[in-house]
Amino acid sequence: MNIVVCVKQTPDTAATVTVEDGVVSWGDAPVILNPWDEFAVEEALRIKEAHGGQVTAISLGPEDAKEALKQALAMGCDQAILISDPALAGADSLVVSKILAASINKIGDADLVIFGRASVDSDTGVTGPQVARRLGWPALSLVAAVTALDPEGKNIAVERMLDECRQLVRSPLPAVVSVVKEINEPRYPSFMGIRKASRAEIPLWTAADLGLDEISDSAVTWPEIIAPPKIETEVEMIEGETPEELAAHLVDRLMEEKVI
C-alpha cells in the first residue's frame, strides 16, 4: 500500500487571530500540523503497519512552511515533499487541487490518498474531494472508520460520518479518503522520530517540476478579510437564594425576553 497524505500548516487553534489592513496575524502563536491532518497521518501509518508500503506526506505552502511536514515525519512518515511556488500565493481550491493531483501523479503508484476533513484556517473541506475528481478516483469523505482493506483485491470498505448517521461504503482502490476525528487517536512523535525529522531533507517541488508551466488563475478571490462584529453583551447574572429560585428566575428572564 503506497499512501500519500496531504497536510497543511496552520496556526495553533488556541491562537487569537486578528486582521489589520487585510493581513491576518496570529501573534507569536506557533504554527502546527492542521489538527484534522494528524488523524490522516495516523491512519496512513496504521495502514502501512498492517499492510506494508510507503507513506509520503505532501504539503503546499510558502517555502518556510515545513513544520507540518516535520511533524508528519516525526510521527513516522517515510518521506515528505513541500510544493511551493511564488505563483501559488493566494491560490483557491480549484488551483490547489490541480497542483496536489499533479503531485500525486508525479509521486506515482499511490493506492490511497488521505486528507483531514478540512483545514482549521480556511475551513473549506472541499480540497480532498476536488483532488479525487481530478484524479478520477472515488471520493470517500468524512471517514470515521476503515472497516476492511484488501491491497491485493484493491478495495476498501469505510464508514462515512454523515450528519444523520454513518453510511457504509465499499470502493475500489485507488481512492481519496478524508478522515474525521472519530477514526483514531494520533500518536505522539517518538524522540527518535523527532530527531530523524529534524535532520530530514524535505525536497521542494515547484509548479515547473510538476510539468505545469503555467498556473491557471484562481476562480475565487478574497477582496476583504474583516474581524467579525464585536458581540456587545453585558452579562446579566441571575440571582437567587436556592437552586430552585435561580432556575425559576432564569426561566422568567428567558420568557420575558422571548428567547423561549
Binding site: 480549484l94 454523515l162 444523520e164 476562480a219 428567558l254 428567547v259
Partner: protein, 344 residues
C-alpha cells in the same frame, strides 16, 4: 434562460435538510436582484414530493432526476448529474451538509469554476455575488467572489438565512431529466443507526456540557468500578444525563466541549467548536464549560447564550447574555423541572 439560479435540495432518509429551503429563499432574493429565475434540483429516488415542496417554498421550477441508482447518495453520480445541469447556470446554491461540501467541490472541478463553502451573507457587486464566509472557525470573516467563471457555487451555512414560508398554492413545472449517470464503482452497503436526536447544525436550541460535568463530588461510583478512569466516565455520564434531560425538555440538541469529547464522556458528533461543529442556535446553554477560545469560536454567533459555571471568572460569561454562578448539579434538575412546568 442562461442566467438561472440553481438550488440543490439535499435530503436524507425521506427528509429534506431544512437549510435547503433557506437556500431556496436566498435564491429567490438573488434572482430578484439579478433578474433571473430560481430552479430547484432534486436528485434521488421517489423524490417527487420534495420537488413539489421546492415549488411551495418559492422555486419557479424543478429539475428532477429520479432513478433507483440515486436512492443512496454517492458523490460521483450526483456530481456528474449536477454538473450537467449547472453548466449553463449563473449561480449554484447548496445547503452546507455532510454531503454537499464534496458535491459542490466536485462540480466546481467539473466546470472549472469557483466554490465558496459555508456562506453566511450575500450581496451583489458588479453583477457577481459577493459572499461572506467565516474562516479560522469564525475568528475572522472573509469576503469571497468569483468574478469571471460561472456558475458561482456557494454552500450556505444552516440557520444563517431565513427559511421562507411555504405557500401550498404556488405552482411551477417539474421537469424529469434524462439521466446520464456514467459508471458507478462504489457501493453503499448499509447505514448505522442514527446517532443524534436533533442535528446540531439545524437545532434552534443547544444544551452543552463541558469537562465540569464530571466533577460532582457528592456522587460516589458503584463499588464494582475500581478503575479511576472508569469512575470519571461514570461521573461524567451522570452529569451528561442532567444535560440531556434539559435538552429533551427543550427539544434541543446536546452539545459538548472538546475537553468533554477528548475525555471520552460523549461521542465526537456532539462536539461544538473549532474542531467540531460550528453552530448558531437561538439559545445556547453552556453547562460547566469554561469557554476555551476554540469552543467560543464554534458558538459565538448563537443569539442568546446562557452560562452556568461555578467559576465566576470563566471566559464564557464574557459572551453570555445570562449567567448563573453555581453548581450545575444543583441547578440543572430544578431548571429542567421549571421549563417542564412553564412550557407544558
Amino acid at each position: 434562460m442562461a442566467n438561472k439560479i440553481l438550488v440543490y435540495i439535499d435530503h436524507f432518509a425521506g427528509q429534506v435538510v431544512p437549510a435547503s429551503w433557506e437556500a431556496v429563499g436566498v435564491g429567490t432574493s438573488l434572482a430578484e436582484k439579478l433578474g433571473s429565475e430560481v430552479v430547484a434540483v432534486v436528485l434521488g429516488h421517489e423524490v417527487e414530493t420534495f420537488a413539489q415542496n421546492a415549488i411551495e417554498f418559492g422555486a419557479g421550477g424543478v429539475l428532477m432526476g429520479d432513478a433507483p441508482e440515486l436512492k443512496d447518495y454517492r458523490p460521483e453520480p450526483f456530481a456528474r448529474v449536477l454538473s450537467q445541469l449547472a453548466a449553463e447556470a449563473e449561480v449554484l446554491l447548496l445547503p452546507t451538509t455532510s454531503r454537499t461540501r464534496e458535491l459542490a467541490g466536485m462540480v466546481a472541478v467539473d466546470l472549472e469554476t469557483g466554490v465558496m463553502p459555508d456562506v453566511v451573507a450575500f450581496e451583489i457587486e458588479d453583477g457577481s455575488v459577493l459572499a461572506t464566509r467565516p474562516i479560522y472557525a469564525g475568528k475572522l470573516l472573509t469576503k469571497v467572489i468569483c468574478p469571471e467563471k460561472r456558475p458561482q457555487i456557494f454552500t450556505l451555512r444552516s440557520r444563517a438565512f431565513v427559511k421562507p414560508e411555504p405557500d401550498p398554492g404556488r405552482s411551477g413545472d417539474i421537469t424529469r431529466i434524462e439521466l446520464d449517470l456514467g459508471e458507478i464503482v462504489t457501493e453503499v452497503t448499509g447505514y448505522s443507526e442514527s446517532m443524534v436526536g436533533v442535528s446540531l447544525s439545524d437545532a434552534a436550541i443547544i444544551v452543552s456540557g463541558g469537562r465540569g460535568v464530571s466533577n460532582n463530588p457528592r456522587l460516589s461510583p458503584p463499588t464494582e468500578i475500581t478503575d479511576e478512569g472508569e469512575q470519571e466516565i461514570w461521573r461524567a455520564q451522570q452529569g451528561f444525563a442532567l444535560v440531556s434531560d434539559l435538552a429533551k425538555v427543550l427539544g434541543a440538541a446536546m452539545g459538548a466541549s472538546r475537553a468533554a469529547v477528548d475525555a471520552g464522556y460523549v461521542p465526537y458528533e456532539h462536539q461544538v467548536g473549532q474542531t467540531g461543529k460550528v453552530v448558531s442556535p437561538d439559545l445556547y446553554i453552556a453547562c460547566g464549560i469554561s469557554g476555551a477560545i476554540q469552543h467560543l469560536a464554534g458558538m459565538r454567533t448563537s443569539k442568546t447564550i446562557v452560562a452556568i459555571n461555578r467559576d465566576s471568572d470563566a471566559p464564557i460569561f464574557k459572551l453570555a447574555r445570562f449567567g448563573i454562578v453555581g453548581d450545575l448539579f444543583d441547578i440543572l434538575p430544578p431548571l429542567t423541572q421549571a421549563f417542564k412546568e412553564r412550557l407544558g
